[in-house]
Amino acid sequence: MSAALAGSADFTHKAARREARIISIAIWLTLIVGFGLTALIYAPVTWLGILSVSGDPLSGLPGSFTLHWYASLLTDTRWLDPLIVSIEIAATVSVLCMISATLVGRALPRMKRGRGVIMTAFLLPLVVPGIVVGIDVFIYYRMFFGIKMGVWSIVLVHFVWAFPFALIGMLVVSSRFDARLLEAAADLGASPWRRFWDIERPLLSSGVATAGMFGFLLSLTELPRSIFVAARTQTLPLFTWAETMSRGSHVSLIYCLNSLIAVVSVALSVLSVWLLGRRLKS
């Protein structure tokens, strides 16, 4: 009797150990794949950063470290005007994203029917290639709506590009919003405006901020759509692209410029993810 019991206990132990081992292998695999993918993304950026402080970036090898190229950014300021244009466009796209993502993001979770179809329709532009969108806008909008190519056509394609991301950022927050809180506020005497201002606005604010951040960052670094609709307007990505293509003597500046853009982008992304995470936790 006792021997049988001991045997079964032993068996359970073995099974439990095997299961624990499989789980730990799965965790390690996930970590390796995850870190691997992350490294694929960050390694080139880091390499770029290292080259930007190297004596001869064009050789492709780091060495004789110097801040010379960064210093020359201060003397050769041709990048400044494109940067200002880019920031203006990005800020406009950011505001558009915040407003539209808030409107749509509030409404979608409350829809009883057709939510899936509408959500898919809104998110579909994520998978339409950028070049196609650029050409489409260039051909279609110019012909049928007479849109002049320039700043506003860039704003348009950037907004189309960034909106699905902004909406996702908003939906992460708004789909968790408990509409019963609004009933409770109404019950306590709050007018519709007060319900929005006191309850919805603070609880959705991190979603709004995320939407704006997505709009800003995606616009700031967007290239393929801009190429077709920019006309003579020059954004920072268009400028760096043109400089890279020109094989001119100022190519080294591009290393510095892109490193700076990468640092700013990552900082803003981390900030928005942190904001979002903090809200979800509470």
Binding site: D178, R180, L181, E183, A184, A185, A186, D187, L188, G189, A190, S191, R194, D198, I199, P202, L203, S282
Partner: protein, 376 residues
């Protein structure tokens, strides 16, 4: 305007004259479903009324109609403290709700939650704070003013929800299954506490629940609802011991329900003829019984006695003991009799299965009502 001035008179008698809630002819339909079917209800100032029913009975819809969250399809009268509230949104009604899931604002502290109803009424911060602290004192949470909502336990959240609703001094406090999310022990404590609070404040409470225990222990009066209609309105003792309909009898746990025909009404007692047996009981249906009308007799298992005295007013049924089930505080035994199985909850040991047993009850313990309730 005159109605408003009238209810503001500080004379208790004048206030008593206007009920806290007056509802007549409330109909509510969702698509093809009738959630409320000509419901009429009057609740007095200072009363604790419980709306009891199974899910889908329309009890929550009725509460939401009173709160203003649902606009009824039809309403002949819907007045709160004499004010016609038909067409008034929730924020213009002098009611406050304690929601089942509390619905506390997660981005505000306990104090800010409680003060919210005062803030939207334009009361200055100092006054708000004083009244919020009083309200928190009522629910014994004075020390939690600055806490975040996620730092509270379930029971504390519920108390905050009470304080938040009470602080605006609503004419009616609506309670939507307020104990639903609490564990058994806490629920019992809160039942007593909420009842004491209501008595202390002399406030009007309307509670919705599916728990008969909650309804019986807390209320002045109970409304039993079924399929959008009011089945019975009465004191807890009426509802429990004198069910007017078969549905109420079954819902209140009368597992012994016997069909038959009403006999000739005697002094106090009514007879029910069921397959050759005469059962003693008290008429508890609406109106007067008519000899020969189809009727039911219903009795709680714990009011059925083993070996009852063969005296006047007693119903005695001979039978054979069948299955018994140990329930801790009592034992449930089923006895096969001439009118079918009769369940008795008894304190002592159960009779052996197959042994001959007599079960019975005194007529005053048995409710007799009409087989089909004729509805207005």
């Amino acid at each position: 305007m005159s109605a408003v001035e009238l209810i503001d008179l500080p004379i208790p008698a004048a206030r008593r004259a206007v009920p806290a809630l007056d509802a007549v002819g409330i109909v509510h339909r969702y698509g093809g479903v009738t959630a409320l079917d000509h419901v009429a209800l009057t609740v007095d100032e200072g009363e604790f009324l419980t709306i009891l029913g199974p899910s889908g009975s329309g009890k929550t819809t009725l509460l939401r109609v009173i709160g203003g969250f649902e606009t009824p399809t039809e309403a002949e009268t819907l007045a709160i403290a004499g004010v016609d509230v038909r067409g008034l949104p929730p924020n213009h009604r002098e009611v406050a709700t304690v929601f089942q899931h509390y619905a506390l604002f997660p981005h505000m502290t306990v104090g800010q939650n409680v003060e919210y109803g005062l803030k939207v009424r334009g009361i200055m911060p100092a006054g708000r704070r004083k009244r919020a602290e009083e309200a928190l004192g009522l629910v014994r949470l004075s020390d939690k003013y600055g806490r975040r909502i996620d730092q509270l336990s379930g029971g504390e959240k519920q108390r905050v929800a009470f304080a938040r609703a009470l602080v605006t001094e609503p004419r009616i406090l609506l309670l939507d299954e307020p104990m639903g999310a609490l564990d058994e022990k806490l629920r019992r404590e809160m039942q007593v506490e909420v009842r004491a609070l209501q008595r202390e404040l002399k406030a009007t409470f309307i509670q919705v629940t599916h728990s008969q225990e909650e309804a019986l222990t807390m209320s002045d009066r109970v409304v039993v609802m079924n399929r959008g209609r009011i089945e019975q309105l009465g004191t807890p003792a009426d509802i429990f011991g004198r069910p007017a309909t078969r549905f109420v009898a079954a819902f209140m746990g009368m597992t012994n329900i016997i069909d038959g025909v009403a006999g000739i009404p005697g002094p106090g007692l009514v007879l029910l003829d069921a397959v050759g047996h005469t059962l003693h009981g008290v008429w508890s249906g609406n109106g007067q019984p008519v000899a020969g009308q189809p009727a039911f007799a219903a009795i709680h298992p714990h009011r059925v006695a083993l070996n009852p005295p063969r005296d006047v007013g007693w119903t005695c049924l001979d039978g054979i003991a069948r299955a018994s089930a140990y329930k801790g505080a009592y034992t449930e035994v089923t006895v096969e009799t001439g009118i079918g199985g009769v369940t008795a909850s008894i304190a002592g040991p159960a009779p052996a299965e197959g042994s001959p047993v007599t079960v019975g009850w005194h007529g005053s313990e048995c409710a007799i009502g009409p087989a089909e309730e004729a509805r207005a």
